[in-house]
Symmetry: none
Subunit: 229 residues, 4 copies
Amino acid sequence: MPAHPASRTPARIQGESGEAKVKRKGGALVDLAEQQEQRRGRPRSEAVERAIIDGVVALVEEGVPLAEVSIERVARTAGVGKATIYRRWSGREELFCDVLRAVEPEDPQLTGASMREDLIALLESMRLRGLANRSSALLHNVYAQMKSQPKVWAVYRATVIEPRRRLSLEVLRRGVENGEIRDDVDLELVNDLFTGPMLVRSVMRPDDAELEAGLPEQIVDSVLRGLRP
Amino acid sequence: MPAHPASRTPARIQGESGEAKVKRKGGALVDLAEQQEQRRGRPRSEAVERAIIDGVVALVEEGVPLAEVSIERVARTAGVGKATIYRRWSGREELFCDVLRAVEPEDPQLTGASMREDLIALLESMRLRGLANRSSALLHNVYAQMKSQPKVWAVYRATVIEPRRRLSLEVLRRGVENGEIRDDVDLELVNDLFTGPMLVRSVMRPDDAELEAGLPEQIVDSVLRGLRP
Amino acid sequence: MPAHPASRTPARIQGESGEAKVKRKGGALVDLAEQQEQRRGRPRSEAVERAIIDGVVALVEEGVPLAEVSIERVARTAGVGKATIYRRWSGREELFCDVLRAVEPEDPQLTGASMREDLIALLESMRLRGLANRSSALLHNVYAQMKSQPKVWAVYRATVIEPRRRLSLEVLRRGVENGEIRDDVDLELVNDLFTGPMLVRSVMRPDDAELEAGLPEQIVDSVLRGLRP
Amino acid sequence: MPAHPASRTPARIQGESGEAKVKRKGGALVDLAEQQEQRRGRPRSEAVERAIIDGVVALVEEGVPLAEVSIERVARTAGVGKATIYRRWSGREELFCDVLRAVEPEDPQLTGASMREDLIALLESMRLRGLANRSSALLHNVYAQMKSQPKVWAVYRATVIEPRRRLSLEVLRRGVENGEIRDDVDLELVNDLFTGPMLVRSVMRPDDAELEAGLPEQIVDSVLRGLRP
DNA sequence: GCCTAACCGAGACGGTACGTCACGTCTTTTA
DNA sequence: TAAAAGACGTGACGTACCGTCTCGGTTAGGC
């Protein structure tokens, strides 16, 4: 799964977008490659890959500060050689990036019944993510750490944040078509009006107080009031 | 100015709020202290303190990733012994925290003319801070770094974020009294409705596109529309 | 070769005496051990070990005072990481101890023709060692250094001094049997009567003047005169 | 008493021999000097000087390895500022040198009755010194330390060893005149025949066993037997 | 059923940075 | 001006990781 230059993992077919994943698959050509230049020698163990990522998750969940999660320590925890890690990822950054993807919750399922309901569902998924962060301490840490590592941050944005933003904009577009909100607004701005307050609570002040269950509804309704046609 | 346990900076007398700033001198009370419990031995050089902080700023502005800003390197850059740094700060975290405070822009001056104008001024100062971050690469990095270090993050919140939040809430309170917004709203929530969108732009997506000059006004007006009595 | 607790050098079969060397070998059992608990991971490089010891010797021969031969400097000189040194020796003391053994000259070859000749040969080897010390400045320094470090001094005595003392006593014993000296003497004392004067010259006053070639003969004959039956 | 360039101890007048002792005052002449070129400002406290040297002695007697007797530690122990030490000695070496002189036992009193008795008295003083060393742990350590510091070693030899060697040679010279030993011998060599064995016991093997009381007599008689006319 | 290439664990290797300590110099107040 | 205090630049200490590199020992195909 990593984008490491040394990566030679055979090929695991998959979705359609993910930038990094792209490097290792891609349809018929890959199948061809698989047949032609099938990797020789002992194939890499998927169990090892899981053990490594699980090791990082375990460490962070035990409360180890992310800064102290060294490759060396991950190797010890996972009972794995350092080289085995470097064979898959080029360094901490890349590894953490994959760890992050591994724990990232699924996209919320939208009913499409109304824009308001979908927006609340979106914000609710953010709220739950915030709660998960707080309880597991994982995302909250990895997230913060990432920002100091621009490369990883870019990947994260492209693979996690942007898709959700597009999803959110789509919901708003339907809201305009349905007449749920005026049509003379900048949807990008409107999107931020909804997600911004939620983020402030779940990321910037995650321990302010329990993220109350009703918060998404409150935000959506407060903002919507100013957007009605 | 650091909170290092070894800190023996003379003046301890202080005003009423700022925990860290407190440790520094400031007026007649301090002179008194100087006479009374004058520190013995050679006093610490303020020039050295400035040189160290300026060294960090210089490194970051040259584009050095914050992760590579080691104490050792700071010492070399500032032409200072490592021990001199550790005398003042207990480690990277504490140092960066003070660096951050050193570059933190001043609180915005509020006219008090109307709640709307004050809110726009507040958001405008956030926008400028975002721009500064992006151009200097400093705050953006230090900020991210801090979040992965809970201790520093806590200090930063207490000394920088919270005061501004209180300022912001005060503005809103006056808005309720003036009748600029309804009086049946949760001011904490309303505050997030204003600052959230601005933060999303300036912190989470600082390079999305230039932070347009009109953004604060747009946000304030959009949100206000739903809050009028 | 070091006795460092962290030492895990596999096992190098060898001679019969050296106390420290003993710790790492020992005949058939070792061969067994090699098969059974073959050291895992990359084996330590003997070339590196030599480079380190040679580095120390080179420094001392250049005239660097032993007090300035820091581990850090040895590492630089030998082109080696500090950890590589600490992996083998627990500190300066242990390292110097092995350096000393490395430069310690071989035991003299005794003809056994007569006690007098053997005694002269023993003293001659001490004289040459004294010369070597003076010209290379090495033993003279390491020797002095050692004495201030009881642990190393004890090892040195056990592995270098004692064996020679036993050798010397054996020579004297044969002298008694041959009738070359009286049989009512304390051999320990007699031994000191021979070696003491030589040591005073070669160790205590190494720069007094060249150690003349005839000195051993003079000492042996002068002392022997009082010991004849 | 130190030879430190910064030394400003008043009294420069001096006796006739001891180079180091010279620097200190000694009677009326000094008083005169004090009046004439009275040092300006606060005079140095002799109590401080004693406190420093006593501090070193105390540390060593407590069993602190000489290598850990840092200037910093001496200053703490003696309750004295570092600068106060550096004002008097240029560094560890010089300080230790004076410490050594402070604990060096007095020259033995020779009766002059016979060469044999005087030689035994000389060796007896060496024996006692050896015992003292062992019990106090001081000389034994300082002695060893010194040898690794050529400058101090030179001073020690000049002020302590040489005078005794001259004394010893003088005794032998009288022995030749008295007819107690032959007159065709190299006195330097003969001297070593007596002192060498004693040194081997008291310095090289100080803990071999108690230095028996009769040892000096045994050595002298054994060696003398071969030197009689 | 071998052969062989790649994987795997372990850990040595040359480095860099850590945080502490002592060096010898300096700068301050106090006496 | 000495003395105590302690800040200062320097640099060694011993430890921890970095990312690379051997080692002996597995696993898989492909012959």
